[in-house]
Symmetry: C2
Subunit: 186 residues, 2 copies
């Protein structure tokens, strides 16, 4: 018999994503989001939920573009900082000693120091309530060579992505391999 | 300088979610999804991407409800089986020796053996391309007492959720605590 916890946003794990956008005067900004994920295989899309009062919301609506950056566990302090403070009052790139990099395909900056970035064009924006859901069409994925294996694929053990637990609000690393998908269940 | 990998659905980590629905004659069905996540805090919502040809798509459209179940790492084989085979040809509950349980708030079954379930009412369905995105309004979260700590909160170390890596298509466990959110970055 399960225990009722109420109507809450309790799902495990959630990712730790850094959303890059340009604001007025091409000022680069970043925010941290855990309400996001892949949402379509073709066209390849990723979604991220952003509150309308956020600078990131204004920026995405104006530029119709954003990047989704995946920091490694080494950057947990920066990821948290980027989630605590607003780009309205802080230059988060400068405060975190991070470098904005131009994207190849979209009008949004990525974070040079973070090993993986998805360059996204705004595909749909959906008003859900306290959050708007932005669906980005993934135009390209770029990875630091240090996280690629000999075949040129992403090695998750080198990427070392963070996850966020919405119950204790903790960041957790990824653990070990437990099985091959589309195989172990046969 | 990063390496371009093309326009692909490469994000890390993604969750391993088991979507429960009723079909014709109240037959319970389950499918595995990794394209999903929390997408709004209020109303509390979770999204999951489902291809229109899936039985789950038909069932959600007919019943306007689904459950999102989180299996623990102990159930990795069942989670994979549920993702490989279709409910059109297999009774996946029976094949996996899993038990469908009635929900309290919605017209969809949960999996008794999986420690966490979100009971969801269909809130929006959005056509994105090869996948439709179903946004469910979370009506209640129910947890097995074995995953709750002394305060009644979910202990992620007891839940032991799975994650899916879209590069090597591997399942990975969660690792250790690396920092407290809204604190370590101050």
């Amino acid at each position: 018999m399960k225990t009722s916890l109420g109507a809450k946003t309790l799902l495990f794990p959630t990712p730790v994503l850094i959303i890059g956008t340009y604001g007025e005067n091409d000022s680069p900004n970043i925010m941290t989001a855990s309400w996001g994920g892949i949402c379509c295989s073709n066209p390849p899309c990723v979604s991220v939920a952003v509150r309308p009062e956020r600078l990131t919301h204004t920026n995405i609506m104006a530029r119709r573009a954003f990047t989704v950056n995946v920091p490694s566990a080494d950057h947990v302090k920066e990821a948290d900082y980027i989630g605590i403070y607003s780009g309205k009052t802080k230059n988060k790139f400068a405060e975190c000693k991070l470098t904005p990099a131009k994207s190849e395909y979209v009008d949004a900056p990525s974070v040079e120091q973070f090993p993986l970035v998805l360059e996204c064009e705004l595909f749909k924006d959906i008003d859900l309530g306290i959050h708007a859901l932005f669906v980005g069409r993934i135009m390209d994925v770029k990875a630091d060579p240090t996280i690629l294996d000999a075949d040129g694929s992403i090695d998750i053990g080198q990427l070392r992505p963070l996850t966020f637990s919405p119950s204790d609000r903790g960041y957790y690393a990824l653990g070990g391999f437990v099985g091959q998908a589309f195989d172990i269940g046969k």
